[in-house]
């Protein structure tokens, strides 16, 4: 399912049923979440999961083509942890 599939499904379920509204809704949600992470904030969605940033330390890497050493600076990487409910749900088909 892509973002546009999600937009279509949302449109069917909102008052007025406008696709334009659904688009704004889906974009607003992911934009706000991105914004929160940009500010270093953690996101917690009950029943779904949480997002936080993890730090990757600076390291010496190598250019695989030339095998030259390159300094890779430290960086932050987004990380998602599925909530208990969602974990169970995803695994439920098996059980």
């Amino acid at each position: 399912m892509t973002k546009s599939d999600l937009v279509n499904d949302v449109a069917k379920a909102i008052p007025g049923g406008k696709k334009r509204d659904a688009e704004v809704i889906v974009n607003t949600l992911f934009d706000r979440m991105t914004e929160a992470l940009t500010q270093g904030d953690r996101i917690e969605i009950r029943g779904f999961g949480s997002f936080h940033l993890r730090e990757r330390k600076a390291r010496t890497g190598r250019n695989p083509k030339t095998s030259d050493k390159v300094q890779v600076p430290s960086k932050k990487v987004p990380f998602f942890k599925a909530g208990k409910q969602l974990k169970k749900l995803v695994d439920s088909v098996r059980k």
């Binding site: 909102i14 607003t28 996101i43 960086k75 599925a82």
Partner: protein
């Protein structure tokens, strides 16, 4: 940030009532959950992909007692952030 902040964002930007906005935020996450439950992936361009992965059973060990136990086969959810999101967050 919590769900309440997202509800407010919808309320301010889209002009639905608070109550409707709350229902809508719930709806979007429910739609995503339903899809993942079916084992299907979710691709949000500019944000990332949520992918359900099949894990085979393996032998694990209780780190406290050293006892070997079988970890059953399972499905797990992983999130792969998009390059766009990664670049935005690199130097936060």
């Amino acid at each position: 940030m919590t769900k309440a902040d997202l509800v407010n964002a919808i309320y301010e930007r889209v002009g639905f009532s608070k109550k409707e906005s709350a229902r809508i935020v719930e709806l979007v996450f429910d739609l995503i959950k339903d899809t993942l439950e079916k084992g299907e992936k979710i691709k949000i361009s500019g944000f990332g992909n949520f992918v359900v992965r099949e894990k085979r059973s393996r032998i694990g060990r209780n780190p406290q007692t050293g006892e070997e136990i079988e970890i059953s086969a399972r499905r797990v959810l992983t999130f792969k952030p998009s390059q766009v999101l990664r670049n935005q967050l690199k130097s936060v």
